[in-house]
Symmetry: C2
Subunit: 197 residues, 2 copies
C-alpha cells in the first residue's frame, strides 16, 4: 500500500497509527500540502477533495478521507466493534471529529505552526469552538474509558490525532483531566507510534 | 423511532428521506435550532455536539450525526453496498459532504434563509468553497450515474440534501449539467419525498 501523506497532518497520522497497530507494511509519498499546484498534480485523479491522506491499494484503487480509510482498514479487526449500534457510534464520533473538532483545533494548530494566527479574522472564533469540542469530549470521558463500548477503537484514533497536539495551537488541555487520562491510555498502548514517527 | 428534527435542515431531511425510502414509521420532535437554550435542554444527553438530527431508537438509545444515522439505517439494505471498498467509498463521499460541502453550501443557504448573508465576513469565501465542492461533484458525475458503484446509495442521499436546495443560497446550478441530471435521477425515484414533506 502507498500512503499519500503530509508529515504534520493529524489526518495522515491517524492512518499511519492504525497501519502500525495492525502491523501492515506501507510506503509513504510525501505531499507538500502548502503548495496547491502540487496537490492538484498529485491528487486530482485520486481524491476529489484534493486532500491527504489518500491510500492507494496494491491494485491501484485509491481511497480518501482519513476516517473512511480508518474504517476500511479496521473492519474485521478489534479496532472496529461488530455490534451495529456501536459501529454507528464509531461513525458518530468520527463525523463529530471532522465537523466539530478538526476545523477548529487542527486549523488553529496549523496556523500556529506556520505562524499566521493573526492573519485570519476568525482565529479566536475557531479557538472558542475548539474548546466547545473539547468540552464535549471531556463530558463523555468523565464517564467512559474510551469513546465507544469498553475498548479502544478507530473513534479513539480519529479523536486522538489532533487532540494530543492541541497545545501546539495554544489550547490549554490542563482544563480537561478526563481527556488527559484518555490521552495517556492511548499513548501507552504497545502498538502506539508518535505523530513524528 | 423518534427523530429530533429541524424543518429546514438538510441534515435532518437526509434521515427522513431514507426512512421514507425504507418505509420505516417514525415520529418527529421539532427542535428550534435557532434557540441555543432549547438545543441544550433537549439535546444535552442525546448528542455531544448538540445538533439535530438525533434518532432515538425504541429502546431509548440515541444516535447522532446525520451520516452515521444513514449508515445505521441502511446497513443490510440496497442503500449501502456490500463490497468493502464500495462501503469505504460511501464513507469517503459522506465525509466529503460534511467537511467540504455542508460548511459552505448549507451555511450560506442558512444565512440566506434567515437574511443575514452580509452579517458575516466569510460569506463570500464560503460561497467560493461551495463552488469548489460542486466542481468536484460535477467531475465525478460526468463519468458516473451515482456516487458509488452503479446504484443509488446513502452517499447520494447525503449529497443530494443540500445540493438540491443550493440555489436557495444563491448558488448557480446551471453551471453543472451532470449534477443537474443526477439531481433529477434522485428526485424521480418512487420512494422520494421533498425536503418540505
Amino acid at each position: 500500500m502507498l500512503l499519500y501523506d503530509g508529515p504534520s497532518s493529524g489526518n495522515c497520522y491517524k492512518v499511519r497509527l492504525l497501519l502500525h497497530e495492525l502491523d501492515i507494511p506501507f510506503e509513504r509519498v510525501e505531499v507538500d500540502v502548502m503548495r496547491p499546484r502540487n496537490r492538484m498534480e498529485l491528487l486530482a485523479d485520486k481524491n476529489p477533495a484534493l486532500r491527504v491522506p489518500v491510500l492507494q491499494l496494491d491494485d491501484g484503487r485509491c481511497l480518501a478521507e482519513s476516517d473512511a480509510i480508518l474504517w476500511y482498514l479496521a473492519d474485521g479487526t478489534p479496532f472496529l466493534p461488530e455490534d451495529a449500534f456501536e459501529r454507528a457510534q464509531v461513525l458518530q464520533w468520527m463525523f463529530f471529529e471532522q465537523y466539530n473538532h478538526e476545523p477548529y483545533i487542527a486549523v488553529v494548530r496549523h496556523r500556529a505552526l506556520v505562524g499566521d494566527l493573526d492573519a485570519h479574522a476568525d482565529t479566536e472564533q475557531r479557538r472558542q469552538r475548539g474548546y466547545v469540542a473539547l468540552d464535549a469530549m471531556e463530558r463523555h470521558l468523565e464517564r467512559n474509558e474510551f469513546f465507544v463500548g469498553d475498548g479502544y477503537s478507530i473513534a479513539d484514533i480519529a479523536l486522538y490525532a489532533y487532540t494530543h497536539v492541541a497545545e501546539e495551537g495554544g489550547f490549554d488541555l490542563s482544563r480537561y483531566p478526563a481527556t488527559g487520562r484518555w490521552l495517556a491510555r492511548v499513548s501507552s498502548r504497545p502498538g502506539h507510534i508518535a505523530i513524528t514517527a
